[in-house]
């Protein structure tokens, strides 16, 4: 028999969350044997690279363009930011190929696949706005080339790549927020549904 406390929205949310994602499922001690393969390491490599991207981005934001253009340490952190992005995309693409080859949307995992795909698109936008926010000739060249492409889609009315302030805000606020939130949702979905099994084990899967 449910009490008044059980009917409270806080109780209902807590029970729902714990039912769907109990602590031992959120942070499991073991994984299925088939996860012991190199193809499964690229997701976590992507997350690790994202961590370095965010950390170096925070350091760049603290000291600003004058610093990253003119000091040795600024160059170093700027390069760390660039190369962690390179590793991030490299690992994410290999992760995507791996999951595509496994048809990783099987067994009710469509939302896991969709959050991953949307994260990929948000990351491309984050990378692009980063390239046009460098405040150098390279960024000016990229912005002037990109404006024609974006204007041809009609998107230029809302997303002006020649507007450095707008691009920088998208790059350091909106898109990192989207990337981190979507990544968190993606990982939660992986925890809820589990890692997709190989095809020969798929018959043991329970469709959601």
């Amino acid at each position: 028999m449910s009490t008044d406390i059980d009917r409270q929205w806080t109780s209902r949310i807590r029970h729902n969350v714990v039912d769907k994602l109990p602590p031992d499922k959120l942070l499991p001690d073991t994984q299925p044997a088939y996860v012991a393969s190199w193809i499964y390491v690229f997701g976590v490599t992507t997350i690790a690279a994202l961590g370095v991207v965010i950390l170096t981005g925070i350091i760049l934001a603290l000291d600003g363009p004058q610093w990253w253009h003119s000091s040795s340490l600024g160059h170093f952190v700027n390069s760390m930011h660039l190369w962690s992005v390179e590793i991030f995309f490299f690992a994410m693409v290999v992760h995507l190929w791996g999951k595509f080859s496994m048809a990783a949307w099987r067994g009710g995992r469509s939302l896991t696949w969709v959050t991953g795909a949307v994260t990929f698109m948000a990351s491309i936008l984050a990378g692009f706005t980063g390239y046009v926010s460098q405040t150098n000739f390279d960024s000016q060249w990229i912005a002037t080339q990109a404006k024609d492409g974006i204007n041809s889609t009609g998107g230029g009315a809302f997303f002006n790549v020649l507007n450095l302030g707008q691009m920088l805000m998208w790059h350091i606020v909106l898109l990192p927020l989207a990337a981190v939130v979507l990544t968190a949702l993606h990982v939660i979905m992986v925890r809820v549904k589990g890692v997709v099994p190989p095809f020969e084990d798929a018959t043991t899967e329970v469709s959601a």
Partner: protein
């Protein structure tokens, strides 16, 4: 290159990019190298043995 610390890229990158053109397709050598490395990594990840795999057979 960072002159002050005596550090720099292993390969001199201070020049214009190299491009490969085949009919309408044009790609920078840098991008092509990254794509080849991604394919090579993908194939290696599928084929290379994973350390400790035999010990993990007991995992659920």
């Amino acid at each position: 290159m960072a002159q002050g610390w005596g550090l720099g890229a292993l390969i001199n990158l201070d020049h214009y990019g190299h491009y490969i053109q085949w009919h309408v397709i044009q790609i920078s050598v840098g991008n092509l190298i990254v794509m080849v490395l991604m394919v090579a990594t993908f194939v290696a990840a599928l084929l290379a043995p994973f350390p400790g795999r035999r010990n993990r057979k007991g995992a659920k």
